[in-house]
Amino acid sequence: MATETQEVAGGAESAGMPQLDITTFPNQIFWLLVTLVVIYLILTRVALPRIGAVLAERKGTITNDLAAAEELKQKAVQAEKAYNDALARARAEAAKIVAEAKAAIQANLDVEIAKADAEIGAKAAESERLIGEIRATALENVTLVANEAAADIVAAFGGHADTATVTDAVSARLKG
């Protein structure tokens, strides 16, 4: 029955295009209008406000986040500046302390060196004195030993030497 209708309708147009079968037009137009109204209602009641809200919300969030990021960046810059300042101050402080320490050490050193010099001077003088003493004693001893040795030698040669002559001779020799 339906096919017959279409055959008749299709037969009317030589090309047989179902698009030109006007018996189906009211049906198509009716359902199309229903469809469009339903889509329009779905869009305006639910979909479009929702998507619009989401997009607006996202835009707001992004703007806020960017502002927050900018603020944080400023803070970071300030923190870096403060850090650098503190660093510079600390360096200056350290340099000062080092200089003070150096000065103190130098002063101590000078004092110690002076003391050590003095001690060394004292010790040297003492040593010189001792050396002088030892030398004198040694000379005396040498004279004594030389006298005795000379007297013994003279005696050994069979001579007789009186002490005064030997002593004079030895001291004359020693003075040389």
Partner: protein, 250 residues
């Protein structure tokens, strides 16, 4: 209904896919009959609802894939309306969006095998085009009064030419819905018919590799056509809307 050439005993019926028939039982197609048209229109509605309502149901700040697509479509059409019709046209955005989504989804659903392409019928596209045409004309007169007719009086042209131009402008104005609707229906019908013809050739063993390759290639082309035609219909709607909204002069 075998209208195309019959090759080697193979009957190819490229136009059979466009036949409107009742979904349940046989009988004449009354205006209220539930037909395959009704089915595919309903599927179009469901597809749109699935993407734009279910897809966005989480309202995520960081969107899911489906929400991303829905937002993309929203932004695309919104920007088009705003750019073409100007700021005053934005309040007609829901209507334009309705048209765009309907045509886009009807075109894409029509590319499913065994489906029925509602937008390949002139009854559908002419209705759509007339809705736009009548809507824009009525809106133009409401917004601009008789001044809307100034659109046909080209003041930038020499006075002697103006009557001639007015006639041309009036004719072109009334041709708008024709080109607007036939373009859409014609593109889709031709593409689908060609695919069907090649599919018919695929039943011949010698030709089948070529035919299947051709079907694949044309399918890709049709995918492009489906989207582009939806875009073209929508942007033309915006252009017509600008005449009504943005004053009579352009």
């Amino acid at each position: 209904m075998a209208t195309e050439a019959e090759t080697g005993g193979f009957a190819i019926h490229p136009m059979d896919q466009f036949i409107v028939k009742p979904l349940f039982g046989d009988g004449p197609v009354q205006w209220y009959t539930v037909t395959n048209v009704t089915l595919w229109l309903a599927l179009t509605v469901l597809a749109i609802a699935a993407l734009l309502v279910l897809g966005t149901s989480r309202r995520a700040i960081v969107p899911s894939r489906s929400q991303s697509v829905a937002e993309l479509l929203y932004g695309f059409v919104y920007n088009m309306v705003e750019e073409v019709t100007g700021h005053d046209g934005v309040k007609y955005f829901p209507y334009v969006m309705t048209l765009f989504l309907f045509i886009l989804f009807a075109n894409l659903l029509g590319l499913l095998p065994m489906s029925f392409t509602t937008t390949s019928h002139v009854a559908v596209t002419v209705t759509l085009a007339l809705l736009v045409f009548v809507g824009v004309t009525v809106l133009g007169f409401i917004k601009n009064g008789v001044g809307f007719l100034g659109m046909f009086w080209v003041t930038s042209a020499p006075l002697a030419l103006r009557p001639v131009l007015a006639v041309i402008e009036v004719i072109s104005y009334f041709v708008r819905p024709v080109s607007h609707s036939i373009r859409l229906a014609g593109n889709l019908m031709a593409g689908h018919a060609v695919i069907k013809v090649f599919a018919g050739f695929a039943s011949m063993a010698i030709l089948s590799p070529v035919a299947i390759g051709a079907v694949t290639a044309i399918y890709g082309l049709e995918l492009l056509v489906a989207v582009v035609q939806a875009y073209v219909f929508t942007i033309l709607t915006c252009v017509y809307l600008r005449d009504a909204v943005g004053g009579a002069h352009h």
